[in-house]
Amino acid sequence: MNNEKLTLANIAAYLAQQKGITKKVAISFLQQLTETLGEELLRDGEVKVKGLGLFKIEWHESRMSVNVQTGKKYEIAGHNKITFTPDKSMREVVNKPFEHLEPIVMDNEPISANDTWMDDEELRLKRFSEQAQEILGIIADLQQIQPEDKNQTSQTIETPTVSPTDPVAHIQQNVSIDKQEIEQASTSTTTNIADSAKTIVQKKSVEKDSIPACSDEKIMMERMAKQVPISNKRWVALSILFAVVVVISIPIYYYFFVMNHGDDATQTTTVLASTSSTHIKTIAAIPVIHSKPTATKVSTQPTLTSNPLTQSRTYKETIATETFKEGSRLTLMALKYYGNKLFWVYIYEANKDKIANPDCISAGTHIKIPKLNPKLIDVHNPQCLIQASALQTTYTKRHAIQAK
C-alpha cells in the first residue's frame, strides 16, 4: 500500500500512453471533464456518470451545535453538501485487495444445536447428582432406623467392601442389596441382574439403569421416610414393593434405551463418551474412594469410546481428488465433503507432502480428500469440533512462525 497522491497529470500521461493521443489532448480532456462535472452538478444538483458514480447535492437542515472551546451554543445554518455514491464497478475494483474476504457467521447453527444438547445432558446429570444426594440423606436416615427393627438389613448395608464415604458406590450397593432381597423374597424370574456385574456390558447397562432407577428410588424412599415412623410392618412391605419396582424398571428402561438409541449406534457411543466424561467429573467432585465396580466402570468406558478422537489418523482411502483452482479453499472442500469447515485440517494432514502452507496453495495442486472415521467428523459432537479447531490453531501457529 502506497499512499501517493496522483494528479490529473498522472492520469493524463497514462491516458496518452494507452489511447495513443498526445498529453496535451489528454489533459485538456480531463480538465474539460472536471469542469463540466462541476458545472452540471451546480446546475442540476445531480450528475450520474457511468463507471464513476453519482454526485448529488443534498440539503442539510440547520441545527444547533456547541463550540467546544467556549461552550457556547450556536446554530449551523442550513446548507447544501455534495454526496458521492461510487458506481458498483468502481466499488468492486477499489475493494480488490479485500474482495476474497466474506462475512463470517460466528454462531452457526450446528454449534448452537450442540450447545442445547450439552445443556440438556448437563441438566440430566445435574438432576442425577441431586437425586443421588437426596437418596444419600434418606439412606442415612434409614440406617439410623434399621438397627431397631432388622439386624439382617443393617448388616448387609454396612458390608466391609464398601467404604462408607462413597455415595455413588453406596447407592449402587444399596440397589444390588435390594435386588438380592427380592430374589430371596419373591420368586422373580429375572436372572442375576443384581449380581454385581462382571462383564463390561452388564456394568454399562446397570449404570444406565441406575439413572431412572434413582428417580423411582427417590419417590419410594421419600414415601418410606414419611411412613417409617408410623409402622415397621408397612415399611417392610414398602421396601419389597420398591425393590419390585426397581427390578421391573430396569428391563423397561433398557428396552426404551435400545429403542431410542439403537438406530444410530455410533451416536450412542459418542454420547456415552461425553456422558461418561462428565459423569466422572461429577463423581470426582465429591471426595470419594471408589469401590471396585465404579472404579472399573470409570476406567473402561473412556478408553473404549474416546479412541476415534485420540488415536493417530491415517489417510489410506480417498473419497475423491480435487484440483486446486483459483478461489478454491480447503475449508470449502471440507464443508462439501464433511459438512463443516473446521475439518479442513484433516484434508491438510492427508496432503501435507504437497502443501507447504495451507494459507497459500498453488493452483493445479491435486488435493486428495481422505475417507475419515465418521466418529471423527461428527458435526453434532462438540468434541470433534473442539479437536478440529485445536488442530487448526496448532497449524496456523506453526505456519505463522515459519512465515516469520
Binding site: 500500500m1 502506497n2 499512499n3 501517493e4 497522491k5 496522483l6 494528479t7 490529473l8 492520469i11 491516458l15 489511447k19 489532448v25 489528454a26 485538456s28 480532456f29 480531463l30 480538465q31 474539460q32 471533464l33 472536471t34 469542469e35 463540466t36 462535472l37 462541476g38 452540471e40 452538478l41 451546480l42 446546475r43 442540476d44 444538483g45 450528475v47 450520474k48 456518470v49 457511468k50 463507471g51 464513476l52 458514480g53 454526485f55 447535492i57 440539503w59 442550513g78 447544501n80 453538501k81 455534495i82 458521492f84 461510487p86 464497478s89 468502481m90 466499488r91 475494483v93 477499489v94 475493494n95 480488490k96 479485500f98 474476504l101 462475512p103 463470517i104 457467521v105 460466528m106 454462531d107
Partner: protein
C-alpha cells in the same frame, strides 16, 4: 445530467467523436479505480479528491436472530470536494 449528455457535451466542446470520448472516460475511470485499489488517491484539480478509505472489520449482531457476523475489512471510495466547489455548492439555492 446523464452519462449520454455528458458524452455529448464533451464531444461538442473538444471536437472528439462520441465513441472516443466514451472510451476515454472508461479508461480514465478504470485507471482511477485501479490506482485507488493500490491505496493511491486521485486529485482532480478544480473538482475534488477521490480517496480510498479502509473500513476495519467489525462484528454485527442481527437484532432479530441474535446471530453474530464478522464483517471483513473493506476499502471504499470517498470523494472530498474541493473547497471552492464546496463553497459554491453551499451558496447555491436550495433545490427540491
Amino acid at each position: 445530467m446523464t452519462h449520454k449528455e455528458l458524452i455529448a457535451d464533451l464531444s461538442s466542446k473538444l471536437l472528439i467523436s462520441e465513441n472516443d470520448i466514451s472510451e476515454l472516460l472508461d479508461t480514465t475511470f478504470t485507471t482511477m479505480a485501479n490506482e485507488m485499489s493500490k491505496g493511491n488517491s486521485v486529485h482532480m484539480q478544480g473538482f475534488g479528491t477521490f480517496e480510498p478509505h479502509r473500513k476495519e472489520e467489525r462484528l454485527t449482531i442481527n437484532p432479530r436472530t441474535k446471530v453474530r457476523t464478522l464483517i471483513p475489512p473493506k476499502q471504499v471510495v470517498v470523494f472530498k470536494p474541493n473547497q471552492t466547489l464546496k463553497d459554491k455548492v453551499k451558496e447555491a439555492p436550495r433545490n427540491e
